[in-house]
Symmetry: C2
């Protein structure tokens, strides 16, 4: 089911700036029994991303009601897209332009079900991410780099691709954030120049703090990952997954994925 | 008037990858008496941009007929958007996905009429363009940098903003390419890492060659522009315009804009 500005429809004005310029932001989240999981985190991130692009963010309760309206009865996912609305020709936006609100549901993908294997296989992508501090971290609609990265493989056995920026630093996965553990401490790339700072990444960092696990956010080359005791990817749909194989490198489980997957679903407030 | 996949409508499927990811390309061109100006150039660029993103490009004659169908009776503009079509969730695209074709017309903006002043005022933008060789030159739908750049000013007296990349090199205007003349020779930035390589830019380079004007494509810092005899911007809607004022710097006309504006409309085949 799909709601656009509260109305049930599946089409959007073709002059919407979301289509013309990718001028908007989005979220994908899980729902359980019609309720969004981690709603406060998701709304806070949506509001922050809107603010970064000077986009009017809709009211939290309005959005939450729309998420519940479209959500599947059992487990499912909901995608929220917010755009700068229908615009005149040209890059300039007029003040008072109403944000377009798209809220749509989909069944939980099989790879995200509780029965799906926690171990995944990943590869390094060859495309290098550009560095744009003004857009880094934001889950905006300009995702051609992700599209090009994802087009680098079609082997269904490969679940995710890992990306570096054009300085060679590890940034994250095509659709996920990356974490690794070395000597009992947690590491994840800083996302001030590239990448998307996901809600699950931020929950994982809070979960680590709750459990007294020391976490480091910084800049690392791929070697740091290859040298790790356990490598993980995460997003709001799949939770935490263990990277069991990365191109030709394999790791035995070290237990961190299980620990962090449990911690992630605890109350972190 | 707007045609989407040949049908008169003004809405697009909300699952279109053009909206989800900016996964597509576009063109804006002038029409005269229902015919597109510089059609061969525009179609060649559209086909090249599609190829760069592995997007199926529609047939040239089909598109040209649709442009004529939507075009205003007198002078006007037409925008063509091509996207990777309606997709399943996720960045992966399925093979055989049909390209979405959006063709729409608009009246010629007043700033593009023959009576509009050829001299314009520009400013430097503060945002620095990211460098992504895989996307540079392509007129794709990921245009948030342009949106952020255009949002830097609202003074209607300023017609265009000039942009540098994050190495400090001049790239072009928010909606135009930039040229300058120094000692009788023409200069324009190379666009292998950032920017859009427009059809008018390529026509200007051919026009210069026809007239025996030596042209240089390369990497220059803003100083090169400030030191120029004449600075110009160009695109398919406005032709060539002289930058008479750039922030606090002004230039008297040196005649090049007039010469190149005439050359641009000659037969360059």
């Amino acid at each position: 089911m799909m709601l656009i500005n509260g109305q049930q429809t599946d089409t959007v004005n073709a002059m919407d700036r979301g289509l013309s310029y990718g001028d908007g932001v989005f979220r994908t989240l899980r729902t359980q029994a019609g309720q969004p999981l981690w709603w406060q985190d998701h709304f806070a991130k949506l509001a922050a991303d809107c603010a970064a692009l000077s986009l009017d963010c809709p009211d939290a309760h309005l959005l939450q009601r729309e998420v519940s309206r479209v959500a599947e009865a059992g487990d499912g996912i909901v995608k929220i897209i917010l755009t700068r609305g229908v615009g005149a020709r040209g890059y300039a936006s007029s003040s008072g332009q109403a944000t377009t609100r798209i809220v749509l549901s989909a069944p939980l993908p099989s790879h995200a079900c509780a029965e799906a294997p926690v171990d995944i296989t990943a590869r390094w992508c060859t495309i290098k991410l550009a560095r744009q501090p003004r857009l880094a971290g934001i889950k905006h609609l300009n995702r051609l780099e992700n599209v090009l990265a994802r087009a680098e493989w079609d082997d269904p056995a490969i679940f995710e691709g890992l990306l570096c920026d054009n300085s060679g630093s590890v940034i994250g996965g095509v659709m996920s954030n990356v974490f690794w553990v070395k000597a009992g401490e947690l590491f994840t790339p800083g996302l001030h120049e590239s990448g998307v700072a996901g809600v699950t990444r931020s929950r994982l960092l809070r979960a680590a703090a709750h459990r007294g696990i020391r976490a480091h956010i910084g800049r690392w080359m791929p070697d740091a990952i290859l040298d790790a005791d356990e490598v993980m990817i995460c997003n709001s749909v799949i939770g935490v997954r263990r990277v069991a194989k990365l191109d030709d490198v394999t790791w035995p489980p070290a237990g961190w994925t299980t620990t962090l997957n449990i911690a992630l679903y605890e109350n972190l407030d």
